[in-house]
C-alpha cells in the first residue's frame, strides 16, 4: 500500500514529534514527570562534603572542608549554621559565630563566580548552589589521633555526616 502525503503534513509530523519528544524528554529528565519518580531538586538544599582533613598545629587543629551545594533554590545560598565533631567518647559543637571566627581562609573553586562560598556570624558557612569552596579552620583545640564523625547542620534538612581521620 502506498500512502501519499503532502510535504506540509510530513514536515508537520516531524516537528510535532520533535516538540513532543523534547517536552516529554526534558520533563522526565528534570522532574520525572512522565514515568516518575517525581523529583524537584531545587526545593531543599543539600550540602555535600567532598573532602575533609584534620592536621594538628602548634596550638590546635587545622580543619579543611570542601563543601558544595548540589540541590536547592538558586536564589539563596545553603547555610551550615552548626558543625558537630564527634567520636565515641567526646564531641564538640561549633555554632555559626565560632565557625566564622575559626575560619581563616575560603578557597574558591575555579568555576565559582563572584558569589562564592563565604562564612559569617549569622549563617555560618554559606554555599551558593553549584559552587564549591574549601573552608580552612584553625580550631583552638587539639583532636587526638583517631576517627571522627563530622556532622553539618543545615536548617530544614537532615544533617550531613562524614567520617574523617585526625592524624
Amino acid at each position: 500500500m502506498v500512502i501519499h502525503m503532502e510535504k506540509v503534513v510530513i514536515v508537520g509530523i516531524v516537528f510535532a514529534i520533535i516538540a513532543v519528544g523534547w517536552i516529554l524528554g526534558t520533563g522526565q529528565w528534570a522532574y520525572g514527570n512522565v514515568v516518575g519518580p517525581l523529583v524537584n531538586y531545587s526545593k531543599l538544599p543539600k550540602v555535600e562534603v567532598t573532602y575533609v582533613s584534620a592536621i594538628p598545629t602548634a596550638n590546635g587543629t587545622a580543619l579543611r572542608l570542601n563543601l558544595t551545594d548540589v540541590d536547592g533554590p538558586d536564589a539563596y545560598p545553603a547555610s551550615v549554621t552548626m558543625v558537630e565533631i564527634v567520636n565515641s567518647t567526646w564531641h564538640v559543637f561549633l555554632n555559626s559565630s565560632q565557625l566564622a571566627n575559626y575560619t581563616v581562609t575560603v578557597y574558591q573553586s575555579p568555576w565559582n563566580e563572584n558569589k562564592g562560598d563565604a562564612v559569617n556570624w549569622y549563617s555560618g558557612f554559606e554555599i551558593p548552589l553549584g559552587s564549591q569552596g574549601q573552608f580552612v579552620l584553625n580550631l583552638p583545640f587539639k583532636l587526638s589521633p583517631g576517627v571522627y564523625e563530622l556532622i553539618l547542620y543545615t536548617p530544614a534538612v537532615k544533617p550531613v555526616e562524614v567520617s574523617f581521620t585526625s592524624s
Binding site: 503532502e6 503534513v9 514536515v11 508537520g12 516537528f15 520533535i18 516538540a19 523534547w22 517536552i23 526534558t26 520533563g27 529528565w29 528534570a30 522532574y31 514527570n33 524537584n40 531538586y41 531545587s42 526545593k43 551545594d69 548540589v70 540541590d71 536547592g72 533554590p73 538558586d74 536564589a75 575555579p110 568555576w111 565559582n112 563566580e113 563572584n114 558569589k115 551558593p128 548552589l129 553549584g130 559552587s131
Partner: protein, 231 residues
C-alpha cells in the same frame, strides 16, 4: 380517547416536525453551498485539503493574524531578558559586579547532565564566560525585536528555538513549580510554530520582503541551510 390521540398531532409532534424540516433544509443548503463552489474549487484540492478547509472553517480559525500574540509573547520574553542584562542593568554583564549573571551558570551545574562540561569550560574561562553572556544578551534583544516586528521571522524564530533549547541545563530549577522547564518547553513549541508558519508575513515587515523577494533560505545550495528560511 386512545383513537383520537393517535390521529391528532400533539404539540410535541409539531415541534419535532419543525426541527426535522429545519435540519433537512440545513443539509440541503449546505450541500448546495459546496456543490455550487461558492468559495472553494474542490476540483484542485486534495482530500486532506478539502477536509481541513471544511472542518477548520478557513474563514476565521486559520487566520495568520491570530499568531501575533504568540509572536509578541515569545519575542518579549527574549527582548525583556536581553534588555535587563545589556541595557537596564548593565552591571549584570560586568564580571566585577556582584550582579554578574555568570553566577546563574554556576547554579545550573549540579543537574546540568550532558551540558556540565560545556558550562564548566565556560565558567573557568572568564573571557569566554563574559563574551558568551554578552553575545547571548544582545542576541536576545535582536531575536525578540525581530519576532515582535516580524523581521526575518523564520530565522529569528529558529534562533529563539535554539536559545530556548539551549537553556535546558536550567530546566531542573523550579523551586515554586517546574518554572524553567515550563518556560523553556513553551518557548520551544512557540518558536517552532512561528518558524513553520512564517508568521511575520502577516502584520510584519516580512510581508514586504516576501512580496519583493519571494521565499528565501540561508543558502540555496547547502543541504541543511536551504531548509532554514529567512522570512
Amino acid at each position: 380517547m386512545p383513537s383520537s390521540s393517535c390521529n391528532t398531532p400533539s404539540v410535541l409532534d409539531v415541534r419535532e416536525g419543525f426541527w426535522t424540516i429545519l435540519f433537512l433544509k440545513g443539509i440541503e443548503s449546505s450541500y448546495k453551498f459546496f456543490e455550487n463552489k461558492h468559495i472553494y474549487d474542490f476540483s484542485v484540492l486534495t482530500h486532506g485539503e478539502k477536509m481541513s478547509k471544511v472542518k477548520m472553517n478557513e474563514g476565521n480559525s486559520t487566520r495568520m493574524e491570530y499568531l501575533w500574540p504568540l509572536r509578541f509573547a515569545a519575542g518579549w520574553m527574549f527582548l525583556d531578558g536581553g534588555l535587563r542584562k545589556a541595557v537596564l542593568k548593565p552591571e549584570k554583564l560586568n564580571p566585577l559586579s556582584a550582579s554578574f549573571v555568570g553566577g546563574k551558570l554556576v547554579n545550573f551545574l549540579p543537574h546540568a547532565g550532558p551540558f556540565k562540561p560545556f558550562l564548566l569550560m565556560t565558567l573557568e574561562n572568564r573571557v569566554l564566560d563574559v563574551t558568551f553572556l554578552t553575545a547571548f544578551s544582545y542576541l536576545e534583544i535582536v531575536v525578540g525585536l525581530f519576532l515582535i516586528l516580524g523581521v526575518l521571522t523564520r530565522l529569528a524564530a529558529f534562533g529563539a528555538l535554539l536559545m530556548s533549547a539551549g537553556f535546558a541545563p536550567a530546566y531542573w530549577l523550579g523551586s515554586t513549580c517546574e518554572d524553567e522547564w515550563q518556560i523553556g518547553a513553551l518557548l520551544v513549541a512557540g518558536s517552532l510554530v512561528l518558524m513553520l508558519t512564517a508568521s511575520g508575513r502577516t502584520w510584519g515587515f516580512d510581508s514586504l520582503l516576501y512580496r519583493r523577494f519571494g521565499d528565501r533560505a540561508l543558502s540555496r545550495r547547502l543541504p541543511l541551510l536551504k531548509w532554514i528560511k529567512l522570512w
